[in-house]
Amino acid sequence: MSRLRTSLGACLTALAAATLGCFPGSEIVHAAAADGTDEVLNYASPVELLFSPDGSRLYVLCQQSDEVRVLNATTYAPMKTIAVGHVPRGFSLSANGSRLFVANSWDDTVSVIDTQLLEVVATWPVRAEPSSVVEDRAGKYLFVADRISDDVAVLNAQTGAEVKRLLAGRGASYMTLAPDGSRLYVTHVYPNPGPHRTPPESEISVIDTARAEVVDRIPLHSIAGVFHVAISNDGRLGAAAELHPKNLVPLAHLEHGGAFADTLTLFGADVGKPVEIPLDELDRYAARPFGVAITPDKSRLYVTSGGSEIVTVIDVARLLRYIHTHRGPYAEDLSASANYVVTRIPTGRDPRGVALTQDGSRLLVANRLDDTVSVIDTRSNRVASTVALAGSKQLWALHFGDEMFAKIPDPSQGRTQCANCHLDERHRQGSKMDLTRPEQVSALRRGEQAFYTSRYSFQGQIGCANCHIDSTFDGLQWDLEPDGFARDIVDNRLLEDVKDTEPYKWNGGNPNLPTECGPRTEKYFWRSENYDDRTLADLTAYINSLPPRPNRWRMPDEAFTPAQERGKAIFERAVDKFGAPIPLANRCSYCHSGPKGTSQKSFDVGTKKPTDDSGMLDTPQLTNIALTAPYLHDGSARTLEEIWTIYNPGDKHGRTNDLIKDELNDLIEYLRTR
């Protein structure tokens, strides 16, 4: 039972199973790590995988170590490590495999790697927060999905010069090229802006690669959070991994998928009108679907689920038969998936991207929070082996006995290594390893693992990352139980830079993060057992460690544009345009004071709704405020402008009604720099 996984007995069982998992044909199960460390260690955190066109190499995109690791695709022996930009999120090969493009999300660049030299030969700037990159077949355009600017930048594939930008969904992040290269399918992680308290709307933006124009948008109703898309080799079947939140009804329970449905949207000629199908089954959920792959013969479809830490295997023929013989909607039908799900294969922690070998015999899964790659035999649907990348504490911890360590020569290093995990022999001796190979799982890493897993919730349905996508937010408003049902609708808030901004909750009711993340979360979200003390400490340490992403509206030299400068003066002013003093509580800079833009006090800013119990609201921090629409405690302001053009008639949310439009625009330009 999932709720008992953290118990000692379960740990021992898992440990034994994981140890066995080092051998071919067995599965890896999570094990308790050795004692942690408070150090900030550099893990690899693999997120995406690619095979070279000839199948000889495996490229592994390592998000935390800012690297591409090149492995022998047969032995998984390391061949080379290539440093790229900061927080790489997506990569792809050119059509002939000669160039590998990497989207570096936090430094707004694309690294171009020559795959002959295995070196970065160019670094191209592109804004903002590039998250995936794909070259067209002709080598004319390079498409880059930008999470912050909600668009796809079209670059000259030879020079990197930007040609234009195409409107995509909000939080554009992942792209898949159709097998014939004619279409590019783009997904996005936040719902598109829409009216307050209406079902979220998302889309798959379809780009004609020859024209470099958006020619279609496949609507995804009631979806918020869309990740990878896979297209079958014949181009007739597409599948997108996605989250189907149930945020319009009170979050009263988790039974029967009360908070989220984990689904795929199928599209293409095999399907006809796009259809959403569930991955969940009663007591077996597929929390946070992310990576998708379809076998070359279109017999199987694989989906990773980061929260449930599994790969779901789907029989495509049964799936198509089901959707053509049963009328939908199916998304919330927990009996549906039994008709097409073959099995669910446990993986490492937070499984993300997948790659299939050309013959479809092996499926590789990047386990981000284990620093491992699961190699799944697709005939047996079992993990055949687990490849440990540098920095893998978990498997290293298991290699403490000689009997577990089958030595083989490491062709690249001239050392001996584990036959299956390819860890250096020194691992078993506990001696010092490469600096890039942390020997311990740090408290922060454990906290991150707790954040991304769904194991703590009832039936393993949801985790923190369901609503805080990639440790941010989800753009949704929720009706939570503590305030009463249909009372106090609350907008989800960004977690970045949250340290020292207590109290928490919009009503300021939680004095610190352990309270916010501990009893409250356990009772009203997980509806399950408590975290143990160490897990809660690790989790809060992780959340407190989240840095703000770079602010894209600030000038490189921290100077302000003229508009930002004028806006700053408005933000800090003490006298209105008519010369009247502005009371302290009506000044922007009073409530939104300090480096993070919060006085950490509560105020009534006149936004109380009939369904709210109180108008006294915690002052939210302003960190990267431009990214976190909608606004106000209940998300009723769709844009920053609406805070003042619609929801501040009495000047209670700052003295703003003396401003003309130009000045309000200036104020907003300044706020975007926070």
Partner: protein, 377 residues
């Protein structure tokens, strides 16, 4: 800043303009040979483009008969009507309404982002971006847009330039920043901006009551061109500057400004003005709603009394008889001789509001329908 010469230079300028006009007209005549609408010249009557007009109304799917603006994007025709945005594609009309996210049902202006294929629609209730079937709308409440009444829109590079009832503004698609332009930071005396034409070098605004506003993209400098005589109903100094301050439309093409006002039209080449009035040109009316330059020497004028085409020397007018409602085409040569050309079809209505080109064909927005002018060879 007024762009007209001191009075002591008037005589000199008149001579210069006369000389220039003669030279330019010669050039126009040559250019007319090359232009598809110009075809060739006949012995007595200039051979001006003749069209067979097919008219679209609500009877065959147009969202509404009052068409404010028309935009051609390849084989797709967009019509901004007073009851939605119509798209004519594959022989059928599709209507986008406020239910689809359109800012307002009355669509006053249209612009195409040629790089992306996105269509920008200025409406009575905001600015809408139509991209791959999805509509994103900007209003004065939810964005930095200066005013919801959007009379004109033009896309240039990463900037969308907007003419509104409360000044002009620019949306930078890269940064999302809105910049507002009004009487506080430009020479604009009135802020009722009716039209905008943006290029990589210059942006021109047609300002109702405040002439023509020019923005230099390189220097960031603003200039105002207004009526040199300052008379609202009289033309004292023809060709000395803009014909009138009540400017309804502007088109900047090949370095030439074509400006439409409610009291005549103007052409400006950066140095010399040439103005057009009914009394000394082929214009059917001085009340011009819209102008669109084909190039430096050819332009179309949309008036309240019909559609006019100017090839640099000669004029053609496409209209309907007020008494019989029968279609009429007239040609006025450079000497002022007017000849009626027999035609069997004409624009849907004499009140013309907009025009766009589809190869050698024209699409015309009128107060009573959308007209497709198919060039007859």
């Amino acid at each position: 800043m007024k762009k007209f010469a001191n009075k002591r230079w008037i005589a000199v300028m008149l001579l210069v303009v006369a000389f220039a006009a003669t030279a330019v007209r010669c050039g126009f005549a040559q250019a007319a040979q090359r232009h598809p609408h110009g075809a060739s010249t006949a012995a007595t009557v200039p051979l001006m483009p003749r069209f067979r007009f097919e008219n679209y109304t609500t009877a065959n799917g147009l969202p509404a008969n009052h068409v404010y603006a028309v935009l051609v994007d390849g084989d797709r025709i967009w019509a901004g009507t007073d009851n939605g945005l119509g798209l004519y594609e594959d022989g059928k009309w599709k209507t986008y309404s406020t239910k689809d996210g359109l800012a307002h049902r009355a669509v006053l202006s249209l612009a195409l982002d040629k790089r992306t294929g996105d269509v920008w629609a200025g409406t009575m209730g905001g600015l809408s971006r139509v991209s791959g079937g999805r509509i994103v709308s900007y209003t004065q409440l939810n964005s930095g847009l200066s005013n919801d009444v959007v009379y004109g829109v033009s896309v240039e590079g990463e900037n969308v330039w907007v003419a509104t009832a409360s000044g002009a503004c620019r949306l930078n698609l890269h940064t999302g920043e809105w910049s507002l332009y009004n009487e506080r930071n430009t020479p604009m005396r009135e802020i009722w901006v009716y039209g905008v034409s943006a290029t990589a070098t210059k942006v021109y605004f047609a300002v109702w009551g405040s002439g023509l506003l020019e923005y230099d993209q390189k220097t960031g400098r603003w200039d105002l061109y207004d009526d040199p005589d300052g008379e609202t109903e009289l033309v004292l100094f023809k060709d000395q500057g803009l014909i009138h301050d009540i400017v309804s439309s502007v088109s900047y093409v090949d370095g030439i400004v074509w400006a439409a006002t409610y009291f005549g039209d103007s052409r400006y080449d950066g140095r010399y003005w040439h103005n057009f009035l009914t009394k000394d040109s082929g214009l059917p009316s001085n009340f011009t709603n819209f102008v669109k330059g084909v190039d430096a020497n050819h332009a179309w004028f949309c008036t309240d009394k019909g559609l006019a085409y100017y090839d640099g020397a000669n004029w053609a007018v496409y209209t309907r008889s007020l008494s019989s409602h029968k279609p009429v085409m007239t040609v006025r040569d450079a000497k002022g001789n007017v000849t009626e050309i027999p035609v069997t079809s004409g624009p849907a209505h004499n009140y013309i509001l907009g025009i766009d080109f589809q190869g050698s064909d024209i699409w015309v927005a009128t107060a009573e329908g959308l007209s497709h002018g198919i060039l007859q060879r």
